[in-house]
Amino acid sequence: MSDIANMLTETATRLFSELCTKAVLAAAETGNFPQALWVAVEEAGFASMLAMEQDGGIAASAPDAVTLLRVAGRFSAPVPLAETMIARWLLSQAGLSAGTGPLTIALGGMTADGWRLEGSGKNWTLHGKEHAVPWGSSAKSVVVVVGEGTGITLGVVDPTQLKTEARRNIAGEPRDELIANVASVTKVAHLAGLDHDRVFRMAALFRAGLIVGALDSILELSVRYVGERVQFGRPLARLQAIQQQLAVLAGSVAASSAITDAAACVIEREDGRLMIAAARARLADAIDTATGIAHQVHGAMGFAREYALHLNTRRLWAWRDEYGTAVQWRERLGRSFAGIAADDLWPALALVGARTETGKPLTHETPSIARATAV
């Protein structure tokens, strides 16, 4: 890990372990926004991390952001950290001020068909709707991202301008429905250098970071629990059947960690499309395997609201299909390769996520390879 990554992990672990208490998490589920936690997150500079220096950030890299989100995911931090990080990154790119306070993003789905911005000059209106926008009605502003050919247009909207319906995912996190009939937009900016897919990939990657953190946590909880729980006169950990289960759990966690870190390194590149698809598809299978095993080895205890396991597992079940469902990611990946000639498949796959020390992207010399990375 880089020095920044080590430092981030340390600082974030201290902060989240102290402030993401059971009480805070339970209160968040009943609608009490954890103000003290949010203030600490702001003070640590986490939420602005991706913004440029003049906007209070450090222009952090995607891998560093993922490092931070792993910790947030591990402690189930009940705040829109990932969303605010992306919103402030976009606003900073567009030269718009973000101020403080939690923000959210509304991307209109993988194919960007949720929203329309209409108008010109200073008069813009927003039309469309989106289910399940994280903290959609409680965020200070919603940054709506509309895809436009090679560029994107950002619309900053005050949630009070929207029709909102409060909803929650199965982890009790706010996932509100937002509807704009003719909502007025506070600010609009066009960003020529980013496309919608790039923003969506980033959001998907950030969920992956949270997921890996939560997976780390359920492995840790499971290892600890089977070491302490005694049955048949010895700790469960001594039973081979249990050891084998935990080995499978650890394999899922290791795989998730590896593909997420690798995807983070190339998220900005063309093949980032395929690496994030691979990561999110792989993570979905890991979540299914890992949550099943973690609950099995915990027996009834894991089903108790009082015990911490569900804080992670309920989030994992929800996050699995947020910012692209497992089905969508798998299909995108498969569609990109289906029909490639047998002897061309490996050369095409070998380019995906490959990094060289020169930093130059690898060339796509055969048509089918170019196809796979461009679809």
Partner: protein, 386 residues
């Protein structure tokens, strides 16, 4: 927090590696064009001495070894790239695979100067083939229970016992046999030693064991009072257990654990065509996601090997995930062929043949090279559970 070994750091590869990959691809394409290397109708690797010698000529065997032993002093990552390319093409690399992968490094690490000079150049030239003599009729996963004995005699050792499931021994000149040199004491792992056995020596009988697929791939090797001179002791007397652990890390950490059935994936992907249904693409994508993940993990291990560290835990994880993935691949491929109505009797005939072959071999992926349960035991130890 997650134990550090469960973190596989994604490596950055030297740009020269890409060049090397293209050299291997060009070579394979040329062999395909010239009819020497037909597009495979099977999974796994076949034996071709001719192909092995061609690879040796290009410097792709013994790549990392010192030049004075016939090697080419290239990096572990370069070797890794070549192995990936050869496996993905389904190239017939069986003959030299084991000596290149594990006998050579074992000799380099533990062998005497005389042994290195005697065997390594031949291996690198694709002429000298070794097989692995670990398993016995009574000894599989529990390797320390072995009963093949080496007894001291004038000028050397006399070895008696039976080695089983020996891949490729019928094509090999030598076997590295793991033997008891002292009766098992309190620590069963002591008193075990490795010897280089000349398979043409008197007292050696090699019997084929035909496998489920009807192929002669492995053998039973009976050693009946076979004389082995002192100079054929490999490494330190009594240190065989540690040496074998090193050897097994080489055996388990390579890309063959998730690329051995790659031809099935390749033929399947082609046959699905660009008009594949949404659910067909979804199943394919799920497989590709696992493969791309395993590759990142393997690359990270290759990087670790380069630094000289033996990644036993990491290798066990990749072997377990990789072999389970390949079994899933066979199951999913069969269903996809049916659900997408792929015509494996005419248009995609090769796919049908590869599928049948993969079906026969896939049962053993999670056994050979260390059974799945044993791998999981290694992982559990890494988690501190045992």
């Amino acid at each position: 927090m997650i134990t550090p070994q469960l973190r596989f750091t994604p490596p950055e590869l030297p740009a020269a590696i890409e060049q090397l990959r293209h050299e291997v691809r060009d070579f394979i394409a040329e062999e395909r064009r010239n009819g020497f290397l037909p597009r495979p109708n099977h999974v796994g690797m076949r034996v071709s001495f001719d192909f092995t010698r061609k690879l040796a000529k290009r410097g792709w065997i013994g790549m990392t070894w010192p030049k004075k032993y016939g090697g080419h002093e290239r990096t572990a990552l370069e070797r890794y790239a070549v192995t990936e390319e050869l496996l993905a093409a389904g190239a017939p690399v069986r003959a030299h695979w084991v000596p290149d992968r594990q006998t050579g490094p074992l000799l380099l690490k533990f062998g005497t100067e005389e042994q290195k000079l005697k065997y390594l150049p031949g291996i690198a030239a694709g002429e000298c083939i070794f097989s692995i003599g670990l398993s016995e009729p009574g000894t599989g996963s529990d390797l320390a229970s072995l009963s093949t004995r080496a007894d001291r005699v004038e000028g050397g050792w006399k070895i008696s016992g039976t080695k089983s499931w020996n891949s490729n021994s019928h094509n090999a000149q030598f076997m590295i046999a793991l033997c008891r040199t002292e009766p098992p004491g309190e620590d069963r792992h002591r008193g075990i030693s490795q010897f280089i056995v000349d398979l043409s020596a008197p007292g050696v009988t090699i019997r084929p064991i035909i496998n489920l697929a009807g192929e002669h791939d492995f053998n039973e090797v009976v050693l009946d009072a076979v004389f082995v001179p002192d100079k054929n002791l490999l490494g330190e007397l009594g240190n065989g257990w540690n040496q074998v652990s090193t050897e097994l890390a080489y055996e388990r950490s390579g890309p063959e654990r998730w690329l051995s059935a790659f031809r099935l994936l390749a033929e399947l992907t082609e046959a699905l065509g660009i008009k594949a249904s949404a659910s067909g693409c979804e199943r394919l994508g799920q497989l590709l996601a696992h493969l791309l993940t395993l590759r990142q993990m393997s690359l990270s291990i290759a990087m670790t090997l380069q630094t000289g560290h033996a990644p036993n835990l990491e290798a066990a994880i990749v072997k377990d995930l990789g072999t389970c993935f390949e079994q899933d691949l066979v199951r999913i491929a069969r269903d996809l062929i049916n659900s997408e109505a792929i015509d494996i009797f005419e248009r995609a005939r090769l796919l049908g043949e590869v599928l049948d072959h993969a079906q026969l071999w896939s049962v053993i992926y999670t056994v050979r090279g260390g059974a799945k349960e044993i791998m999981r035991g290694v992982i559990a130890r890494g988690l501190g559970l045992r």
